[in-house]
Symmetry: C2
């Protein structure tokens, strides 16, 4: 009898704790990824590039299309590998002719990038469609000109029809290529147990994960890492104390020293961390954030607890059928590897 009473009390307390934790999480700005496609589509759609099935399918092909690089060897997926958390697993992106990113910048994940308020570490682009135009053309990345990108794609049988279905005409332009890629990327969202928890399923997070969420909120991490993206806004970095690896690369943020807050969704999948990929340990990254942004020293227990919560942000990656891309033709511009 006594055991039962204790057990019931524990259940009641933990339910109560969870209920209030959900409320507190919502007050801290978290919003779940909607579970219905109807509600989700309202969030991920871009009125200037409305989603349709044909466009997303074309965008997937183009996302994996190595002929969109000067060399024929690099696709969007090279640095934003959908098999490995949407990143490349190196500190600084490597592109055409094995060139390191000149500012030693780490490739951010493409998963849930649709939820970011701005794109690129310095936030210079407003959306995924604008972003997609950059790396294709950048000399140290895919290094292709707009003209060659269009010539390559237009020369391959099948693409015209796909553009026709996606955009209502088969006039292939560089903007449409980027728009299709952006449309595909908008679908790369990964609902997690945390979303389920925010939706009111109190057992979706374990008690240690709930404790971690509590620490995360109480310490103030939600000042930046909140919303549906659990990040994505432009913030001053470093804010309180210097970033100890600031000497790696020359990135200083935008003209006001603002840096885009990375999403914490799937953060356990996307090492190394920070704009310059200097840190491989999630524990160390959490501690550094405490110092640079909040001016606090998170002790080992707090750090581990937060990391336990962060791992619950691992989401369900969409299942992707690897595309079958068309063959080059006599008119396809040849690769240039040198």
């Amino acid at each position: 009898m006594k055991k039962t009473v204790i057990f019931s009390t524990f259940i009641a307390l933990s339910s109560f704790a969870s209920a209030s934790l959900v409320d507190d999480a919502k007050k801290a700005g978290f919003t779940p990824i909607p579970t219905t496609m109807y509600k989700l589509s309202k969030i991920i759609d871009n009125p200037k590039n409305s989603l349709n099935k044909a466009k997303v399918e074309l965008g997937k092909a183009l996302f994996f299309e190595p002929r969109l690089s000067k060399s024929n060897l690099i696709s969007c997926n090279t640095c934003h590998n959908l098999a490995t958390g949407g990143v490349d697993g190196v500190s600084s992106a490597i592109g055409h002719k094995w060139t390191s990113n000149p500012h030693h910048l780490n490739s951010p994940t493409v998963y849930n990038a649709v939820f970011m308020e701005r794109q690129f570490w310095d936030g210079r682009d407003p959306d995924l469609e604008a972003q997609a135009q950059g790396p294709m053309q950048a000399e140290p990345e895919m290094a292709i000109s707009k003209e060659m990108a269009v010539k390559r794609i237009a020369s391959m049988a099948g693409y015209q029809e796909q553009f026709n279905k996606a955009f209502g005409d088969n006039n292939i332009t560089f903007k449409k290529i980027a728009d299709a890629i952006g449309a595909f990327e908008r679908t790369l969202v990964t609902p997690s147990r945390f979303d389920n928890f925010l939706d009111g399923n109190k057992t979706a997070l374990s008690l240690p994960e709930q404790e971690g969420l509590r620490v995360f909120i109480d310490k103030g991490c939600t000042a930046c890492h909140t919303g549906i993206g659990i990040g994505g806004s432009m913030q001053k970095f470093p804010l309180v104390k210097p970033y100890k690896y600031a000497n790696i690369g020359d990135f200083k943020g935008d003209k006001n020293g603002m840096v885009k807050t990375p999403t914490l969704r799937n953060i356990a999948q996307t090492a190394p961390y920070f704009h310059n990929g200097a840190v491989w340990s999630l524990e160390e990254a959490v501690k550094i954030m405490g110092e640079t942004q909040l001016g606090i020293n998170l002790n080992e227990k707090e750090t581990k607890s937060i990391v336990t919560f962060l791992k619950a942000l691992d989401g369900e990656m969409p299942t992707i059928t690897y595309p079958k891309l068309p063959a080059v033709t006599a008119t396809t511009p040849k690769p240039e590897v040198d």
Copy 2:
């Protein structure tokens, strides 16, 4: 009435021609890819590395696994891209640190490679399992040591369990990594309309394609390009006349000047052609083969007719679900990009 008679005569003649063409094709050594999994498995299985579902699934993950390269950036799929005919679309393979293949060798397709009698252009390896060990370790390709490959894979959660399911124990070795990749590659076969034709479906090939097959047989192309692989044996190259692009790279075949005959399955998808990837046009490649191997000048009509047949060798690529690979851990050896 007259029309009907003519039409019936045409049908009769073309059926007759087809029937004899199927016989002649079989006499020339062609054998179709079996349509039943039972019969196919007898051909593609390796008694020393018997296929099972778990091994093929693991092999797929490892085929797409960039952490099997020193840099974290190159997977088997980089040079044998399953989206683009199983090849990379460049003349000479590019690997670690953007190094060109030192002998200027072109990456052969991995599709239907199981049907090749030997692996590599010089035929130095007997099967896919042996072949898979090479590029992972080669400095100009994936540049990883056996030890680092094993450490990387063994450090990531999930792989142990997959090896256990695939091999009956979770002791991860370099040989098992290659064996799993080989097992996956064995499944990459692409049945085509030509196989259907060989199976007796006379309308599976159009009349122009049948004419092309007739020219292909009559001119003697089947001396080397036959069997289930439509290629795959070691042959003297060049045989009769010099290869006009021999000055590109220093490859001379094995010690006897023998070179592995490439498969012609999906040949329209796998430009550029020849061991040194010197030729982009399939027409030109066919003409060159006539010269170097048969000592004949194929005229334009014959060349086009053969190419029409070759395009009927485009097969049905297997549908591949892009893998979701495990995250690195604290013990995973870091990438080395320099």
